[in-house]
Structure formats: C-alpha cells, structure tokens
C-alpha cells in the first residue's frame, strides 16, 4: 500500500474510532461512589494490603487510602481506577482543585476535583502521608 494512502487510512481510522467511542458514551469516568467501592478497588490493585482508613474526594474521582503498608491514592482513570502508594507526594492548587504529583514516571500527576475550602486540608493530608 502506498505510504500516503496508509497514512490517510490510519488517520481516518483513529479519528473515526475515537469519535464513535466518545459519541457512544465510552468516555465516562469511573465513579468512586462510596467507601466500599474505594476499598474494593484498592484491594483489586493491592490484594495484600490491610486498609485502615478511606477518605473519599468530594468529586468522587479519588480517595486517600491509609493502609498498614503505607498511604496511597486511588483515582479514576477513564473507565477504570489506578492506585499508587505514595512515598513523597506533592500537592498544589490548580483551577479544578488539587494537582497531586506522586513522583512515578508511570503515574505523573493526578488532578483531584475539590472545592476551594477542601484544597488546603487535602494538600496537608497528602503531603503529610510520608510513611
């Protein structure tokens, strides 16, 4: 296949599939609706952990998890969740809420949707989670 045709087919295919998925509602984010969901999702990622405390973000897109193995952050990534233990996190206010950097190349930063009055409290909790 000539290169220019291949490029057109690839570009059209990528745009078409992405549009179709978006219009069909496949961009909806996973909602961490309650503590039980947060616990279940955390244990899906870290089945050996013993969870002590769960704090849900008001936007239902993240949760701070305290475990016997150390503190961590669970958040929604598209239709799924991801979870990371936090060794030396940093948090700073951004337009939507709080931007948390975990210091891992595979999970660069998470934006937590938080109302202004919650941001300072959450930043303190996250940065105070150094094990």
């Amino acid at each position: 296949m000539p290169l220019e045709i291949l490029l057109i087919v690839v570009a059209a295919g990528m745009i078409g599939i992405t549009l179709m998925l978006h219009l069909a509602g496949q961009t909806r984010a996973f909602e961490i609706a309650d503590e039980e969901t947060a616990r279940g999702e955390w244990l899906r990622h870290f089945p050996d952990d013993e969870i002590h405390e769960v704090t849900l973000a008001p936007g239902n897109n993240a949760a701070l998890i305290r475990t016997a193995q150390g503190p961590g952050l669970l958040w929604s990534l598209g239709a799924d969740t991801v979870a990371y233990h936090m060794a030396h996190p940093s948090a700073r206010a951004c337009r939507k809420g709080l931007r948390v950097e975990i210091g891992d190349f595979a999970a660069p930063a998470v934006t937590l949707r938080l109302p202004p009055e919650e941001r300072i409290r959450w930043a303190a909790r996250i940065e105070g989670t150094t094990p």
Binding site: M1, L6, V9, M14, L21, G78, A79, D80, V82, A83
Partner: protein, 336 residues
Amino acid sequence: MTDPTFPDVVNLFVPGFIGLILIEFVWIMFKKREDRHAGRYETLDSLTSLTMGAVSVGLGLVLGFITWGFLMALWWITPFNLGTSIWAILACFILDDLRYYWVHRIGHRSRWVWASHVNHHSSQHYNLSTALRQSWTDTFTFMMIVRAPLVLIGFHPALVLFCGGLNLIYQFWIHTEAIKKMPRWFEAVMNTPSHHRVHHGRNPRYLDANYAGVFIIWDKMFGTFVPELEDDKPEYGLVHNLGTFNPLRVAFHEWVGLFRDVFRPGLTLRQRLMYAVAPPGWSHDGSRDDSNHIRAKYVARHPEARGTPGLEPHRLGKVSEAEFAPRVSPVSEPAE
C-alpha cells in the same frame, strides 16, 4: 539469483484492523445487555492503543533496515536455500511460530525484553484495539537474534518476515471478549481468544502463561499452558497498572524504571545486571514480588486454590506460600 519478494501483509491489513474494531464495538453494544462480559471499550484507552499501533508501524518502516540488514548478513553466509515453495512457506510459518513462542516467553521472563513488551499488556481493557498496542522499542531488545536459526537453515529473510507478519495478523482477532470458546478441536491446537485472555490476565494464576502466537501446542509442550477458568475471569492490565494514557509514558515507563534500578548507587555489578535481565519484579533486597511470589501470596490467601490450574506447586518456583501465611490476611481480599 534475485531475492524473493513478499507483500508487507501487516500494512495491507490496516483497513481490516480498523473495520474489525468497528464491528466488534457495534457487536459489544448489542450484546452488552445480556452479557456483561461481552467486552468493553474506553475512548482514551483505545486512542492510546491506536497511537501505539500507528507509531509502531511507522517505526517498523524507519528501523526495519536493522533487522533486515542483520538477517541478510546471515543469508549471505548460509550455504542453504529452502526456496519459496508452498511447503517451505508452511514449514517457515510453523517454525517462526515456535520462534515467536520463545521470544514472547523471554519477553515476559527477562526485564530487558519485558521493558519493550510491557506496553502491550498495559491496558485494563481487552478488545481488538488492545491488539494494536504494540511496542516501539522491540528493535532494541535484539530479539531478532532468535530469527537467526531460521535464516541459517535456509529460509530467506523476506520469507521469515512475511511469516512473522502473518503471525501478527493471526493474533489480532484473538484479542476479544466477544468470542467465548471456539470448537474443541480448534481450542486444542490453535491459540484462541480464550487462551489469549488468560495471557493478558493479571490474576495470579494467569501470570506467565499461554505465550503462543498461532499454535497453542507450544505452551502445552513446554508446560506454560493454563486454561481459562469460568470462576476466575481474567482481569486485564499490569500487576501495577499505569496512571496515564500518555503513549510516551506507556512506551518508556519500564525502560525508565529499569535504568533507574541499574544505575542506583551501592549495587554490585551482578545486581545491576540482574535488574536488567532477571524476571520482572526481581530486586536485590527482596522488596518486590515477582510472579512466583504473587502466586504464592495468592495461595496463602486462598489455600483451597493450591494445585488448581496455574497454581500448581511448580508454578510457585522456590517460593513457599507458608512464608506469607502469617502476613497475608484473608479478610483483606475482596469478594469474588
């Protein structure tokens, strides 16, 4: 004598990849109400997979000369020529699939190759777009060396690469949850969606299993076959899933981790080497879990699962689940 020419089948099949993704998605939308395991798509996840695939094809065009040059050098020195008859093509296809099995197995058992292959497993979804989440860095794993015997026994490099392309195309359709099981005879001989779902599972019993490309018989011959169990549905992704859809981070995260480990201070030369080539999860101080440890911990939490497919004693390596019994609390496991 002129070199034989074969079509670049992967590039020719690109419209087929796109068309089949569209068909699978429409099928899932129709089936989803009656079968929640019919499959699922996520927009950014699929866009990441498509981007990985597109760049992989592009890099193949740009860097293909390295593998081609290496294989042609071997062709120049070999005294054998098996030609391009239908029998030669068939034999090459079968032997190339054996080559694929071993490259794939090494790809999961040596971090140097895993760093390249890991991105194919980085989606938490399993659909036809996942098949296109291909490596950008496989040239630099030097696994083209495993193709050397094929050329040295007389298969022309063009034929070897043609068979590799057919192998890749075969593997596209097995990345789906839409097909449950194929007929029994087919499941016995060929790699199928069911067998390959196991390969993509992050469930402890499914780790390091079903490396086959086209013929599942290699796994059965070499002891790496694990069947898909009805009561342990594969959960897709990595043991530690990625927190990003950024294709650059998907492509390079394990390389970054590998080089950080290799160059961390205070290690012996052997430890540095082990961080590069030992199985993923190896660590000099035992602070990380490799797949044997993950399985042993699972068996410690679920003693009743010991000896079931994928959790046989030989799949725990030298690790004893008793080692973890006091530390792993059964109550911490979510309901299954």
